[in-house]
Every structure is written in C-alpha cells, then in structure tokens.
C-alpha cells in the first residue's frame, strides 16, 4: 500500500491529523487524497476515543496549495466537471457536518481547495509566518471556487469582503485574513499546534466560538440584508463588465453562484456553484488560462538552454546607469532578491536621484505593508552608489542600463570589465542593440549577455535574456536564475534585431499607425484592441513606452528587415512636435497631473490623418493581429524563441496580449493556418505586400499543422 497522505495519532481525545503528500513539495487536493480523506473521516467518526479532530500540514511552509490542476485539465465535459465539483463539495460537507469539532492549524499557503477545506472546519488558527497566505485564486484560471468557497466565504466574512477575494482571485497574507475574519486566531508558528489543540479541547468541553458580523454598520446595511446585497451585486456586475469587456465568463458566474446561494440557501447554492464550475471548466478561456499557468510553471524550471550548468550565486549586483530603468532594476533587485546593489553613474547628482528612485520601490512595498519595518531598514541599506567604480570589485553581475547607443555601451563595458572580478557577468539592458556587437568590446565575451527589462520594471514580469553566439552556458543559467530571483519569468531569446517582443510588436504598432492614416480615430483603434483583450490599445501603448523609444525600435527593425516593417511617417511628425508620450505630458493623448485625459485632436492634422469613421473595429483587429501573427511565425521559424510556449508567454506578459486567447501563436492555431494565410493574402492584395504571409504560415496552411501539436 502506498504511503498515506493523512496520518494521525490520538492524544487527549483529539485525533491529530498530519497532511503530508509523500514525495511532493506541497499538499494538493487530488483524487487519491479525496479517497483517503473520505475513509479517514469515516474511521474518525466511528472511533469513540476521538472527541475532536485537528488538522495540520506536514510540509514546512505549505498547508494545502489547492486542487490538483493536472487532474482538472483532464476533464472533458461540463457534466464531468460539475460532478467533480459536487463530489468535492460532498466530501467537504462531511467535515462541515462532522459530529465532532474539527480544528485546523494553518502554516504556509492555504489557497483554493485548501481554504475551502479550512472553511468547513469548526475553528481556524493561522500563523503569522510570511509564507502563510490565504485565498481563492480560482478566477485566475477561468473557473470559480467550486468546493463551497462561493457559499461559505460570504457567510463567514460578509458579502463584500468575500466578493473582493473571489472575483479578483486574491490571496491575502495571514494577518489580513485574520482581520477579515477568515481565520479565528493569528499566532506565531512555534505555538500553532498548542493553540489549535487547546481550542479543540475547549470545543470538546462544549465551548463554541462566537463570531461577530463583520463590517460594522456598513456591513449590516450592505451585507446583512437582501436589499443591500442587491446593490452590492449590481455594483460588482458593473465592475466586472468594465474590467473584462465580457471576455471572461468566470467572474459573472462566480457572482451568480454567490447570489444564488444567499437567496436560496446553502445546498441550492452549492448545486448552482457546481453547475457554474462545470460550465466554466470546459470553456476555451479557462483552458487558455490554465495553459498559461502551466507555461509559467514550466518556465520556472526551464533554464533556457540544453544541458544547463548549475547557476552561480549572485551576492552583489552592480548597475551602471542610475536613470529610469537602472534605478527601477536596482529597486526591484533589492526588494525581490535581497541582493546588495551598487549604482554607478557619471556624476553624483544622477547617482543621488537613482538611489532615491530605487529606494522608492522599497518604500512603496513598505507602505503597502508587504514588508516589515525591519525588512525596510535592511533593504534600504542594500542600495548604495557612487560616481566611481567603488564596490564593483566584488560584483558578481553587472547590469548596464545606459543610453541606447552601441558606442556608449561598449565604452561602459570596457571600463567596468577593468574593475570586475574575472568571473563576473556583464548584462546589457537593451531593446534594440545586438548583444554580439556589445560583446565585441569585451575581453570575456562568454560573460556578456543581454537582459531586456520591461517598464515599469517592478510590475512587469517578463525579462528577455539574450545570449550572443559567444555567451557561455554558465552565463545564461546564472542570468536566468538571477532574473527569477528578481521575481521575473525570463525567456531566453535569440540575439536578433528586436529580439522577440519588440520584433512582433513593431508590425502591430505600424499597422495601428496605418489604420490611423486610413481614417480610423485613435479612440476606435484603442477601443477595438482593448475589446479584443489587450490592457491598453496600441496608440496608448506608444504613449506609455515613449514615442522616441518606440520610434527608435521601429527604425532598427526596419533597417534589419526592410519594407514589411516600414514604419509610417507618423512618429517623426509627432517627435518634431515634442510629443514623446506620457513622460512628456503630451503624445497622442493629453495628460494632466500625470493622468491620461482624452485624445488630443491636434494630433490628426499634425500627422496628416483625417478620421472618417473607417476602418471598422473588426477590420482593425484583423489587420493588427494578423500583422503580429505573421511576424511571430517568421521569428519562431528563425528560432528567435525556442518554442511557441515561450513566444506566447512573452506576448502575454511583455505587452498584455489577451491572456484568454493564449498568445498570438495559440490564437493563430485557433484561427487555423489556412484561414490566417487566406486572410493575409486578401489583406496583401488590398493594403500592400507587408501582409504577404510568411513561409512558416504557408507551410502550416498546406499541411494543416499547428504551432502547438
């Protein structure tokens, strides 16, 4: 017989159950776990020696990480998924209706099914350990909490607080969970067991915890009566529509499940919840979100090269260039990786600004209470700098973030290499300059690599790691591992113009400009793409990135790839009028006090455009997405990314390609290569040869092959 997940001993009438999935780093709710728990509960119910049950995790910093997603993706039909949900509900219902008190001591992540399990217990104690987090992230996978979460959480903590967690797929720190009333007690880890068992003893003696209705008067008005709840539901529905543009079915379905349960009672609510789960589980959106989740999980282990050597540890990071990017990289590296950072710039005033900007990343985390005061003091002391190379003699990795100019970067490389230890890695943060060109200035080209960060650095999860043909494998793995420590998901891409993200973005942005010149209004272009699923439209994106930066990038790509990526003359006209985008306070949009206002109508005459209502939204979407797909297919064939998975992941996390569509290549598969090619050919005929489908697409159209097999 296999090693059991649930083991227990009986002490003072309490069955102390340890949950410990053998051979796995975390506990998950899987089919075998459910079967075992069912049997265990039956034994504990009938064992007269057992007066109460206490659950603990045997993992050092994990309670239950949720349901086993591998099992969930195997489900084929809505009916099967509904049944899966109903069976889970039924099992947890046995805990909720258990004739003896059930207590739970939570240390480490307690999310998804883990929380739904805990919600069924009589009493919950959690530790204040930083790894203890509690939440229901199901929405992020396009489903809803289907094991009673939609029913029991609002009943426990009130409607508004529950919706806040369920609809956003939130996971909160233990302290917050305690404040919300999700757990009954918050204790330091060493006394978790004792406090939990003491509670069990009291419960055996007939004591019952009294819980106040949370939220005070407002709670009573809004959560505590049907009229108030109606108002809350109406507001929530509006909020969902505004955020998802109807592209994501899970949030409204979860809202329905909560509402139905509050109106018709627990068991009817559970049935409704299971039905909702079943319907969502087989939606295309959920499948796509799960695929992205799997890509993310896989990328966390993928070093980006074959037979990767184990990475070296980075203790000290040197950053050259303390400007916008350099300081943001510094601040992120300190807060995420806890690494010692040394900033260097040409003069001390710049260093001073850079240090303050880097520290503001730490302060922001402190203000959001994500780090303690002690952490803050420690982290702030990790940021320092100078106008000289002091401290670089001990740097293990240097990230250069100076002006985007080959000569300057080469000069910096030469200077810093003279003071670095022999083993140190030099990473250049660039979006357009070939790494091999920078490396030419190096006496150790094997230790030169590219790291393309995205702005704002603290928020954007993607980093492109770009080895040149001379970069050593150890340099790649060390850089990838460090990017991960910075909280990023790096993808390793080929050293070719624009790398991956800017390469596929350029034709998309160019096409947006073409549409603009063709009579589409700025609003209509941006609205069409936001409706498609982008977080911001292409024109607004240009403003965000900065028109000078985008213009330079497009030019580099035009020089490399010729006519098909020729940028229309729009950006030049804009730059002449000093319209650099948000950072300059004016671009395609107007800005006031750092906030985006409406479109600036002065732009149209400036670029020679006459908005006349056309082309239509569907046409805009088709032109822009197909331009991107065509280039993505070409770049993939050239080996710019190692797999469609990497490429799609980068598109989603680099510039927000509609996650529920899975990325441009996944989207192309959904459309089908034949249709993509046919549409591109039509567009080429109508609008010009830039749409001529690439060989990689034609080949797939001919053979019927997909990017993902």
């Amino acid at each position: 017989m296999a090693t059991p997940i649930f083991t227990w001993e009986i002490r003072d009438g309490i069955a102390v159950v340890t949950i410990d999935t053998p051979g796995k780093p975390v506990n998950m709710i899987s089919a075998p776990a459910k079967d075992e728990l069912t049997r265990a509960l039956e034994t504990l119910r009938t064992d007269d020696r057992v007066k109460a049950v206490a659950f603990f995790s045997g993992k050092p910093d994990n309670f239950i990480a949720g349901a086993d997603i591998e099992e969930f993706v195997k489900v084929q039909t809505a009916a099967d998924a509904e049944q899966m949900s109903a069976r889970g509900q039924e099992l947890l219902g046995r805990i909720a209706d258990f004739p003896k008190p059930v207590v739970v001591g939570i240390n480490g992540a307690c999310v998804g099914g883990g929380l739904e399990f805990a919600l069924c217990c009589t009493y919950r104690v959690a530790t204040d350990h930083p790894r203890t987090s509690i939440g229901l992230p199901e929405i992020k996978l396009g489903i809803l909490p289907g094991a009673g979460g939609c029913q029991r959480l609002p009943r426990l903590i009130g409607l508004r607080a529950a919706l806040d967690i369920i609809l956003a797929g939130k996971t909160v720190p233990a302290k917050k969970a305690f404040q919300l009333g999700i757990v009954d007690e918050l204790v330091p880890p060493p006394i978790l067991r004792q406090v939990t068992l003491d509670a069990a003893k009291k419960l055996i003696g007939g004591w019952r915890p009294s819980r106040k209705r949370p939220g005070g008067l407002l709670g009573l008005v809004l959560d505590g009566n049907p009229l108030g709840r109606m108002l809350v539901f109406r507001m929530a529905r509006k909020g969902i529509e505004k955020q998802t543009h109807g592209n994501y079915p899970a949030p409204p379905a979860a809202l329905d499940a909560v509402e139905y349960g509050l109106k018709h009672g627990l068991s009817a609510g559970l049935a409704h919840e299971a039905r909702g789960f079943g319907a969502l589980a087989v939606t295309d959106v959920s499948r796509k979100l799960v695929q992205i989740f799997f890509a993310q999980t896989a990328l966390k282990k993928d070093m980006g090269i074959d037979s990767p050597p184990p990475p070296r540890e980075i203790r000290r990071l040197g950053i050259v260039g303390s400007g916008f990017m350099g300081s943001a990289i510094a601040g992120t590296a300190v807060t995420q990786a806890g690494v010692d950072v040394r900033l260097k710039d040409e003069d001390l005033p710049r260093v001073s600004k850079g240090i303050a900007a880097a520290k503001s990343v730490i302060e922001a985390r402190y203000q959001r209470r994500r780090i303690t005061k002690y952490d803050r003091t420690r982290l702030l002391a990790l940021v320092a700098g100078d106008a000289a190379w002091t401290g670089f003699g001990r740097a293990d990795l240097v990230i250069e973030a100076v002006f985007e100019d080959l000569k300057v970067k080469q000069q910096v490389l030469k200077e810093v290499e003279a003071v670095l230890p022999q083993t140190a890695i030099f990473a250049t943060n660039t979006s357009t300059i070939p790494i091999a060109d920078v490396a030419r200035a190096s006496s150790r080209p094997g230790q030169v690599i590219g790291m393309h960060f995205f702005s704002p650095v603290p928020v954007m999860e993607l980093v492109e790691v770009i080895p040149s043909r001379d970069t050593a494998p150890l340099t790649v793995t060390t850089t990838v591992a460090f990017a991960r420590r910075m909280g990023k998901t790096p993808i390793v891409v080929k050293d070719s113009p624009g790398f991956w993200v800017n390469r596929i973005l350029a034709p998309y942005l160019n096409e947006a400009m073409q549409a603009l010149l063709g009579g589409a209004s700025i609003e209509s272009i941006d609205q069409a793409m936001v409706q498609f699923g982008f977080p911001v439209g292409p024109v607004a994106l240009l403003d965000e990135v900065g028109l000078d930066v985008a213009g330079h990038s497009c030019e580099v790509l035009f020089n490399a790839f010729g006519d098909r990526i020729q940028p229309p003359a729009v950006l030049d006209a804009m730059l002449k009028d000093r319209r650099l985008g948000r950072k300059a306070g004016k671009g395609f949009y107007r800005y006031a006090g750092g906030k985006k206002q409406g479109v600036d109508p002065a732009v149209y005459p400036l670029i020679g455009a006459h908005p006349n209502g056309g082309p239509r939204a569907a046409d805009i979407v088709q032109r822009l997405t197909l331009a991107m797909i065509n280039e993505a297919a070409r770049a993939l064939a050239e080996g710019v990314v190692r797999s469609p998975r990497d490429g799609d992941y980068a598109a989603v996390f680099g510039f927000g390609f509609a996650p529920f569509r899975g990325g441009p290549l996944r989207y192309a598969d959904d459309l089908g290569a034949a249709r993509v090619v046919a549409d591109l050919e039509r567009l080429a005929e109508r609008l010009g040869p830039r749409f001529t489908p690439c060989d990689a697409l034609r080949e797939r159209a001919r053979t019927g092959a997909a990017f993902y097999s």
């Binding site: 005033p349 240090i355 700098g385």
Partner: protein, 420 residues
C-alpha cells in the same frame, strides 16, 4: 615607564573615510546618527573592496547616544553586507571616542583576538535626545501607572507650564557645571592667549582646510552622502570658510565672557554632525588580503586632569606618555594632528608642550586645518584625524606622526602612527 609588554602583533591602519562634516541643523538635520554611522562604515568597506565576511568586530565611538539606539556600533555591524554574527560595541571617551574605538580595536588585534576590525565614530547634534524635567518625567511615569480615568486626570492636573520646557543636554561638565566655552575662556586667560592669536589660528585652520578641500586631499577622505529625496549629494564639509578674514573675525563678540573674554564663535569648533570609519588589520591579515597599510599604530596613551583646573590641558600628559611608549621623542615627529576644540585650547596645549622644552613647529601641525574649520562631531573626530594623519604621512613620506585630542572631563588621548 616601560614600553608595552608583552609585545603584541603589529596593527595596521589600512584605510579610513568619513561622511562630510556638516554644521548641526544644516544638511544632516533630518538624518539619524545611526544612518551616518552605517554609511561611513559601509562606504569604507566599498572603497577598500573588503569582503565584509573578513570583519571580526565593529567598535564605534559616540558621545550623545540616542536612547533609541544606545549601541550604534551594533547597528553598523548589522549592515546587511556584514554577517549578522559580527559583535559590536560603542565606547564613550568624550571627544576622543573614535580614537578610543581605534585603539580598542588595535588591542584586540594585538592580542590576537581579531584580525580585521572596523572602527569608527559618529555624532549628530541634530539627533540628540530632548529630555523632560525630572518633575515632568515623574508625572508621566505616574500617569502610565494610573488605573482609573479619575486618577489619570488628577495626575495631568499636576502639570504646570514650566514643566513643559524641555531639557536638552548641555555641553557642560557634570562635575563642575562649567561649559566647554567657559573652560576655554579660563585657559586663554591662564595661559595668556590673546584674542588675536586665537583668531589667527582659526583663520589658519579655515585657510588650510579650504586648501585641502580645493586640492582634493581632504575630499579624498570624504564619502558622498545622498539625501533621501534624491536631491543634491553632500560631498564636502560645510563649515570651512574660504571668504573669512581677521577683520571679520575681530568683529564678533565673545560668547562666554562678554566683558573680558576672547573666545568667539569664530575661534571655536562648531556643533557638527558626521561619522568616520577606520579599517584596522593585523599586519599578517593585511598582507594576506593584499592591502598595503597606510601606517601602523605604534602606541597610544590617555590621561586625565582635574576638570576644575584647565579642562582641556590633558594633552600635556597624554602626549609624553604616548611618545615614551612608542620609544621616540617629540623631535622624531614629522606630522601632527592636534584636535581643535578651541583655538585657546590648541595654543594652551602648545604652550604646555613648549614648557617641556619641545619645539612646537606649526608647519607640521594640522596641515589641512582642524576641527575649528572642518567641524567636530564629538564621536567622529578621532577617526577623522587618524585617517587624515595616516594619509598625509604617506604623501609627505613621514615616518612618525602623532594625534592629540583633548576631551571632556579633563581627559586627553594621544597616539603615535608609524610608517614602515
């Protein structure tokens, strides 16, 4: 008096640095002393490219410690760059505190208890505890113990307006009640130091400090400070005056004796914020880690006099002791750093040494100015003068140098540095 016996290991001064020294209430007015101390320590590690794991102990000097950070050295050793296991303590020998920190470090190295020690000192007179009166303190203590609302109100009713006047620590002798300035005034009179002589010395201090700043010798020891808001970095001392003259100084009124006095704000050291750090190693450790020491600590001595006599005349006793322990004579010295609390005190010290038959040659004393111009953060000055002396001994190729510091309580500190 015998030389140190048994002889320990030779102690190398590897490097030193300091923050800019700023007049209190100016650029560092919002900066905590602990942050200045950490900055000096960390930047010294950076400048020397030292692996912080080599550090065995941290010793800092501070005179007016914040009650919230009573052991500032521990906060330095808790810099994230250092292993958390590095022990640390803070010493207070008044104005000689960081000199004391350096020699304590040297003792540990000489005995073989440590190979590498980070010493230093800090003072922020912008960050000093402001106290309540005894009466107010009593009221507040009673209040915290009161059980009922009525009792609390009754206690609060005891407060009188005069109780709200805060008490700030004065720079005065606890034993005699005499302030530093009054002591200097007394010494000027006792030793016949004229107002003109004092102003001359103060002017010289400013001129030489300005010169040392302009030619980069002084600024070489300074690590820039970056304000929290990202504003203009602080890179130089702000007390040094390039524009002052004897005439201007002569116009100032004496502070401590308005009728017959001669001590003015211009010929005294100002209240100052700043921190210093000095890296010390055993000779072998320095060699093994690849450092070329600036100098070796040859000897040191402390002395004290009756605070009711001439409070700052202790160097007359400390210096001969240090010379004797070094086995050298006054005439062997090629360079001196004499702490300038007041010009009256410097010139009184000179007179005392002259009375011993020693030839006091100003050309080799405080060649880049002194505390009157540069400033005097009590706990940090020792580290500054030792660093300045060691660096300048190398520039001038001097074999023996001396540091002399007078201190509160009638105390004094002296040490002899030697280059190989």
């Amino acid at each position: 008096m015998p030389q140190d016996a048994p002889r320990g290991r030779r102690v190398a001064i590897v490097a030193g640095c300091r923050t800019p020294f700023a007049k209190s209430g100016t650029v560092f007015k919002d900066v905590l002393a602990v942050d200045l101390a950490r900055h000096a320590g960390r930047e010294l590690i950076e400048r020397t490219n030292l692996d912080p794991r080599e550090i065995d102990e941290v010793i800092y000097g501070q005179v007016v410690a914040s009650p919230l950070v009573p052991n500032v050295a521990r906060e330095v050793s808790l810099l994230p760059q250092l292993p958390k296991e590095v022990p640390a303590y803070t010493v207070n020998r008044a104005c000689a505190s960081s000199g004391q920190a350096v020699t304590n470090a040297a003792d540990q190295i000489a005995r073989g208890h440590a190979d590498v020690v980070l010493a230093g000192g800090v003072e922020s007179l912008s960050d000093i505890p402001i106290l309540h009166t005894r009466r107010m303190a009593q009221v507040l203590t009673d209040f915290s113990k009161a059980k009922s609302l009525g009792a609390r109100l009754a206690i609060l009713a005891r407060i009188r307006p005069r109780d709200l006047v805060p008490v700030s620590p004065a720079i005065a002798e606890p034993s005699t009640g005499e302030t530093m300035g009054q002591s200097a005034e007394k010494m000027a009179k006792e030793n016949g130091i004229t107002r003109e002589a004092q102003d001359q010395w103060a002017l010289r201090s400013h001129r030489l400090a300005a010169q040392g700043t302009a030619d980069g010798r002084l600024t070489a020891e300074i690590v820039p400070w970056f304000p929290a808001d990202g504003g203009a970095p602080v890179t130089a001392d702000n007390g040094i005056r390039t524009d002052t003259s004897l005439e201007q100084m002569a116009r100032l009124k004496p502070v401590f004796d308005r009728r017959y006095g001669s001590v003015t704000a211009a010929n005294s050291s100002p209240l100052t914020d700043g921190a210093s750090a000095v890296l010390l190693m055993s000779e072998d450790a320095a060699k093994a880690l690849g450092y070329r020491p600036l100098a070796y600590l040859k000897s040191y001595a402390v002395a004290a006099v009756d605070p009711g006599w001439q409070l700052l005349q202790g160097p007359i006793w400390a210096v001969p002791k240090a010379l004797e322990r070094a086995g050298i004579t006054w005439g062997d010295l090629g360079l001196l750093e004499v702490h300038e609390a007041f010009a009256a005190q410097v010139l009184s010290n000179f007179k005392g040494w002259g009375d011993k038959g020693w030839n006091v040659n100003p050309d080799i004393i405080n060649v880049m100015g002194g505390s009157i111009a540069i400033g005097h953060p009590f706990g940090a000055t020792g580290g500054r003068v030792i660093t300045t002396l060691a660096n300048e001994m190398n520039r001038r190729d001097v074999q023996f140098g001396l540091v002399s510091i007078c201190a509160q309580g009638g105390m004094a500190f002296a040490c002899v540095l030697e280059r190989v």
